[in-house]
């Protein structure tokens, strides 16, 4: 197995974590050594949306920084955090995503059936202002690969915009909850669902499809925020006119230029069922007028049925916000063999690199590499592994392509063992955060490996188009996840907190110098953003797969909110048996995460904390 310089820094933090006999039931952080490594001269590309005390879009800003200027909670007082109030969403599935806070109202979107709640923060007991229960086709629940999650809403122009699992986008009047419009965007009979959180850019709601495991043809689209009318739609695979590759496409690497690569890099017409969905997070740079998004794995997973690069799956794409035209592309996993979607968030920051301030996009890919990319051109400035990985020896910066290692390449009839990271990736949907105070990224990661056996699969519309078995196991080192601070100017870890389970919840960092995250076994934690020292933790009602937000209440206090509700890929597919409300579906304990069911069960609650 390849070891990297990162491993050395990691060992320092592990030693305490490996001690046996700790108090059962806690995933208490290793007491990290205070490193006080910071990067000066950094900034977030686009400031927080709206007042500092509100949270109006999924990541708080177009940069996807998940950074807040609120500063009342600090490393000195975080130990005094306590629950202020809680709210049951009434739905027991994976609560990925995060609430919004606009004015004195909090907006919560549940997993399927995608109920929306508006909560009045001004009144004791936090009564509802309204509750919206959409029409949402029941069969959608069986067409979603990895639980019936929803990653949240966006607010703009007095409206709440979000997606329904059955492929609709809706707009609600934020004051009344009345549905303003509803547009069908996806086709369930083809396995198209929608789970991602939209963003609103210049009067357009940007949405994308899920269904990379169902043989969909992935797309991203813009709807008129006022009317719901579709303005543009770009597919991620197929001929140039469909993927919107034209005169504006000036991508950095020569091998990515050429006619109709989105079709010709596939055998025959296999691109028509080739995946490339857009189920992750979106970013936007107003100066360049570019939207950044990733695309999912190619379909099927069986690589022998789709020889070629399979563009533009497993790629980071920059598109013109007005037209959807592609401007540049970086395919992080060409001809992906391991289900390494590239849908993770793209964080837009300005960083000092080799003595110059560069306008970059930082992306922690499923494939285990962190990419620091010039966000105007698509040039990869740096790509370093951030988790234990062994499928490639590195990224060739001359071509942007990974140097994949043949022993870890699956083919039909072969059982390839111990590929790291597993198909869950070094990081998955759980979004990282960035603080301009420390210049560091705060990254929730997985440490899993897998075996991979491909088999022939037939496309049958509306059923999974996968063609592989990929049993997963814990990665090297005796832990399955780590919450880490990362320097993207050098590609090195600064500190890390080992966790027994993959860290499937996102991060929040504040100008108070505190970073927040939750764990699959149900701990919500605060750590010192400079040192990684654990400051406080509270055991919430269910495993955390959502993302913390912070806001200022009507009383002027700083609050931190998080969903508790295990699910998603980890809670539904990997944990095996954390459900309790399905008398007809009792599963064995998961072998990948043995014993997780001892610590948590399905839930659906919002927890709000303050000093």
């Amino acid at each position: 197995m390849r070891t990297s310089s990162v491993t050395l820094a990691l060992v320092m933090c592990v030693s305490a974590a490996c001690t046996k006999g700790e108090k059962a039931g806690t995933s208490e952080a290793a007491g990290s050594q205070a490193t006080l490594h910071t990067v000066s001269g950094t900034s977030i590309a686009v400031p927080h949306a709206g007042p500092a005390g509100e949270w109006q879009m999924p990541a708080g800003d177009y940069s996807s920084s998940r950074y807040s200027e609120l500063s009342t909670i600090t490393p000195a007082n975080a130990a005094n955090l306590h629950v202020s109030w809680a709210f049951s969403t009434g739905v027991l599935r994976g609560h990925e995503g995060q609430p919004l806070v606009v004015g004195n109202t909090m907006y919560v979107i549940t997993p399927y059936p995608n109920v929306a709640y508006a909560i009045d923060l001004t009144q004791p007991g936090q009564p509802l202002k309204w509750k919206f229960r959409p029409d949402n086709a029941q069969q959608a629940a069986g067409r979603a690969c990895c639980d019936v999650v929803n990653r949240g809403a966006a607010y703009a122009d007095g409206k709440i915009f979000y997606n329904l699992l059955d492929g609709h986008t809706v707009a609600l009047d934020a004051a009344t909850g009345r549905q303003v419009w509803r547009t069908k965007m996806g086709d369930l009979t083809k396995g198209e669902t929608i789970t991602m959180a939209p963003i609103v850019v210049k009067g357009k709601v940007i949405v994308g499809s899920s269904g990379g495991e169902m043989g969909v043809r992935g797309w991203i689209a813009a709807l008129d925020a006022a009317t719901g009318k579709e303005i543009w739609r770009a597919y991620n695979i197929g001929p140039d006119k469909d993927v919107k590759v034209g005169p504006k496409f000036k991508t950095f690497y020569a091998h990515d230029r050429g006619k109709d690569l989105g079709a010709t890099s596939w055998p025959g017409d296999t691109w028509k069922t080739g995946g490339g969905a857009v189920w992750g997070w979106l970013s936007y740079d107003p100066k360049l007028n570019l939207i950044y998004h990733g695309t999912s794995n190619p379909g099927p997973w069986n690589q022998d049925q789709r020889l070629g690069d399979n563009k533009w799956t497993a790629s980071i794409l920059a598109r013109d916000a007005d037209t959807g035209e592609m401007v540049w592309a970086v395919q992080t996993s060409p001809h992906d063999l391991w289900d390494y979607d590239a849908v993770n968030e793209n964080i837009l920051v300005d960083l000092p690199i080799k003595g110059k301030t560069r306008n970059v996009l930082v992306h922690f890919d499923r494939n285990g590499f962190e990419y620091t990319i010039d966000r105007a051109t698509g040039e990869i400035l740096l790509a370093e592994p951030f988790v234990p990985m062994n499928w490639a020896s590195g990224i060739d910066l001359a071509t942007g392509r990974p140097k994949a290692l043949p022993p870890k390449m699956p083919s039909e009839g072969k059982n390839v063992t111990d590929i790291c990271p597993s198909l869950e990736g070094g990081k998955n949907q759980q979004p990282a955060a960035f603080s301009p105070q420390t210049g560091l990224f705060y990254v929730p990661t997985n440490n899993l490996c897998m075996d991979f056996q491909s088999r022939r699969v037939t496309y049958i519309a509306g059923t999974p188009f996968i063609g592989a078995n990929a049993p997963e196991k814990g990665g090297p080192g005796g832990y399955r996840g780590e919450f880490m601070a990362w320097d993207a100017t050098t590609g090195k870890k600064v500190w890390g907190i080992k966790e027994p389970y993959p860290v499937w919840g996102g991060a929040l960092v504040t100008s108070g110098g505190v970073v927040f995250y939750g764990t699959l076994d149900g701990w919500f934690k605060a750590a010192d953003a400079r040192t990684g020292k654990l400051l406080w933790q509270f055991k919430v009602g269910s495993g955390v797969v959502g993302n913390p937000v912070t806001y200022t209440g009507p009383d002027g206090k700083q609050y931190v909110a998080i969903y508790a509700g295990i699910g998603g890929d980890m809670g539904l597919l990997i944990a095996g048996d954390v459900a309790a409300n399905l008398p007809y579906d009792v599963r064995e304990r998961g072998t990948t995460l043995p014993d997780l069911s001892r610590w948590t069960s399905w839930g659906g609650e919002l927890f709000v904390f303050s000093l």
Partner: protein, 184 residues
């Protein structure tokens, strides 16, 4: 409706399925009752049933949700292949060929769709109701396969998925020596 030729490679046979998840409206569904000839195995008092040829099933009370409108017409059908090891083996290959495996998990361990190993059934676990679930589809996303694949194949799938009900998972005890926890 566009039709597509699908090769069930493992079986060396070809079948026609509609390209969408809906039933092909041109295909007249054959009468499943004509294939109902073999009695189902009887449950024993222990809750374990002998499926013939030493196949053992764990049986929990069938528990269709209150008020669920079972169509009824399939309820009393008997599976001609119940306990037939050869048909069950063919059913296990059909389970892969028709992508059932990626919803219901390897060996029916559960994934997007429910597990079959626990001997518990959302819409009833008799041969007739399992046949109905496959034939008609179910509201949570189970596609309807009636008319898309032969009734004979549906019966073999029925025999296979019922044969998976082999584990009594009612109690999970965490206090023994097997509790495993890594990290810290």
């Amino acid at each position: 409706m566009k039709s597509q030729r699908v090769a069930a490679g493992l079986l060396g046979v070809s079948i026609i399925v509609a390209a969408s998840a809906c039933r092909d409206s041109n295909a007249a569904p054959p009468d499943p009752a004509r294939q109902a000839i073999v009695p189902a195995p009887q449950a024993t008092r222990s809750g374990l049933a002998d499926g013939g040829d030493s196949l053992r099933f764990v049986l929990h009370e069938e528990n269709p949700p209150v008020g669920f409108p079972l169509a009824g017409k399939f309820l009393n059908l008997r599976n001609p292949y119940e306990g037939d090891k050869k048909a069950i083996a063919t059913g296990s290959q059909l389970f892969i060929a028709y992508n059932c495996i990626d919803c219901h998990g390897a060996d029916g361990s559960g994934a997007m769709g429910p597990s079959f190993q626990d001997g518990r059934w959302h819409f009833g676990g008799s041969s007739g109701t399992v046949f109905e679930s496959i034939y008609e589809g179910r509201p949570d996303g189970m596609p309807s396969w009636g008319g898309r694949i032969s009734n004979d194949q549906i019966w073999m799938l029925t025999a296979y998925v019922r044969s998976l009900a082999s584990k009594d998972l009612s109690t999970e005890n965490f206090t023994g020596a097997t509790v495993e926890r890594t990290g810290h």
